[in-house]
């Protein structure tokens, strides 16, 4: 079921506007945009403006159709199905650092990253450190790149331990402004978007010029683990254009 939720000006209630019914969507996928703080109301995610909540607490991931989230905003919440049809909701990971990785198994840059690049081990390393890593495919469902079985085989072949989610109507990609694979986002423990861009500065493992290889996602997570915001907040993603379903 697809629902748009709006935060009222009084801060007292959430108004859900049901924009589409479940039968119109791919049965293996659901995208529910709503408050990141909606799942449970515990300390860091309590609503601001209410008597119980701290003033700085993030409140709501409001997603307006066609809008794009910006750095420093609360990350738009979503629920997407994984390859077995199990729904996964971003806000369930509140309190943890979350990495969102847009991926297409038909993109050579993603293939390289999984075959012999950083994504061979990074998601598992991050998981050991308590980071939630969600891999998202927003490609057209009727193309090979968006085919669930093809994606599942790809992840199995690479022994990936991250959850693979399917954004069948491209709605989550649009909410995050995703146009490239691979493209990555880091969300801090308070649900804010704190990094977006490339995985690293080494497309296909090659760095241009005499500079050291830098993994931006690893750096952003390390910065958050050290208690400060990522020093590098945005980089230019490189790779293949995302071909997702358009409204």
């Amino acid at each position: 079921m697809l629902a748009w939720m709006r935060w009222t000006s009084s801060g007292a209630a959430l108004v859900a506007v049901f924009a589409a019914c479940a039968s119109m969507l791919d049965p293996r996928t659901a995208a529910v945009h709503r408050s990141y703080s909606d799942a449970t109301v515990d300390a860091p995610f309590a609503m601001s403006g209410s008597a119980q909540s701290p003033p700085e607490a993030p409140t709501i991931g409001l997603v307006i159709p066609g809008s794009k989230s910006e750095l420093g905003d609360i990350a738009p919440d979503f629920t997407l199905n994984d390859s077995t049809g199990k729904p996964v909701t971003l806000s369930r990971s509140q309190g943890k650092i979350v990495v969102l990785e847009w991926m297409s198994p038909a993109c050579e840059h993603c293939r390289y990253a999984y075959d012999s690049g950083p994504l061979k081990t990074l998601p598992a390393d991050m998981k050991r450190k308590g980071v939630v890593w969600l891999t998202i495919n927003s490609e057209l469902p009727d193309q090979k790149a968006g085919n669930i079985d093809f994606n599942r085989e790809f992840m199995t072949k690479h022994g990936s331990q991250s959850q693979l989610l399917f954004d069948r109507n491209g709605e989550v990609a649009r909410a995050y402004g995703v146009k490239t694979t691979p493209q990555l986002f880091v969300i801090n423990q308070r649900g804010k978007l704190v990094y977006r861009g490339a995985l690293d500065n080494a497309p296909l493992g090659k760095v241009s010029g005499d500079i050291a290889k830098t993994n931006y996602v690893e750096g952003a997570v390390a910065d958050l683990k050290s208690g400060h915001a990522p020093l590098t907040r945005e980089t230019r993603p490189y790779g293949c254009p995302v071909r997702s379903r358009q409204p």
């Binding site: 910006e70 750095l71 420093g72 038909a106 993109c107 050579e108 840059h109 293939r111 390289y112 090979k144 790149a145 491209g170 990609a173 146009k179 490239t180 497309p203 296909l204 090659k206 241009s208 915001a229 990522p230 020093l231 590098t232 907040r233 230019r236 993603p237 490189y238 790779g239 293949c240 254009p241 995302v242 071909r243 997702s244 358009q246």
Partner: protein
């Protein structure tokens, strides 16, 4: 539709050739290496700023110690729009990349010099396939007193003509800055132009938010809206920042391409809001 195939690779989608504008070089001499990339019909590869997606085409030149190798110079790209509001800057059919080289003053004439030239690209159509090729170019060295030994004159003349000209040669153009808090608008007014487009180079600090073209009488006016943001959290925005890119203008007398390197107005960096 072309199906992706990992074994197919992008190597065969671009035919790369290398040239020099000298048949032999002299100590201290400046010369140019040219790389021609012939691109498979229908496919495209990317400009130095690929845009929303893609990957910049690169040419790495490795030469003997003491040679100064300049940056890669690109001709103007084409704007390529794809579904999903994806705008990229690309080259179709053929791309010529030039790199100027200066030989050391102390270069010995006893042995030829060898350059290794590696090209890398991402070729895209419905799918994207990366490719690369490494080639060698060997040039004999002659005495400083020898006459210059030009080569491939016609090719290089044609290729240099494709490169953007200095903005100062666009004599009738005028520019004007206006700022509103952290938004800075640069207006380019160019008489007799029917269309103007700006292609920004990659910058960590300068971000093009919007460009719009209007006709004002017989002139064309392009408005470029920029914001400035620090490259890394907590870093100051440099005091001297420039708008760096290429302006492609069309008029009844033909197309022209110019380099744009205009500084931001004084104090622009201090009006920025950190996000």
């Amino acid at each position: 539709m072309v199906q992706e195939d990992a074994t197919q690779g992008g190597d065969r989608l671009v035919v790369m050739e290398v040239f020099a504008d000298r048949s032999a070089i002299r100590p201290g001499e400046r010369f140019t290496l040219g790389v021609r990339m012939k691109i498979e019909r229908g496919w495209h590869i990317y400009w130095e700023n690929p845009g929303d997606s893609g990957l910049a085409t690169r040419v790495d030149v490795r030469g003997p110690a003491g040679f100064e190798i300049g940056p890669t110079r690109f001709p103007a790209p084409e704007r390529h729009e794809q579904e999903g509001d994806i705008v990229t800057f690309v080259h179709h059919r053929e791309l010529i990349l030039l790199r100027d080289v200066v030989a050391p003053e102390t270069l010995a004439t006893s042995a030829p010099v060898r350059f290794e030239i590696e090209g890398g690209w991402l070729a895209c159509i419905e799918v994207c396939l990366p490719g690369s090729k490494t080639m060698e170019l060997t040039l004999p060295v002659v005495a400083r007193e020898s006459a210059a030994q030009p080569a491939n004159d016609k090719l290089f003349a044609e290729w240099r003509a494709q490169l953007p000209k200095p903005w100062s040669q666009n004599e009738r153009a005028t520019t004007h800055w206006s700022s509103n808090e952290d938004r800075h608008v640069l207006a380019l007014l160019i008489p007799e132009s029917t269309e103007i487009e700006f292609f920004p180079r990659v910058s960590d600090v300068v971000h093009l938010k919007h460009q719009s073209f209007v006709r004002e009488g017989d002139a064309g006016k392009l408005e470029l809206e920029f914001t400035l943001e620090p490259a890394r959290l907590g870093e100051p925005i440099p005091e001297h920042v420039i708008v760096d890119g290429i302006v492609h203008l069309r008029s009844a007398s033909g197309d022209q391409v110019f380099e744009l390197g205009i500084p931001f107005p004084k104090g622009a960096s201090s009006t920025q809001k950190n996000r």
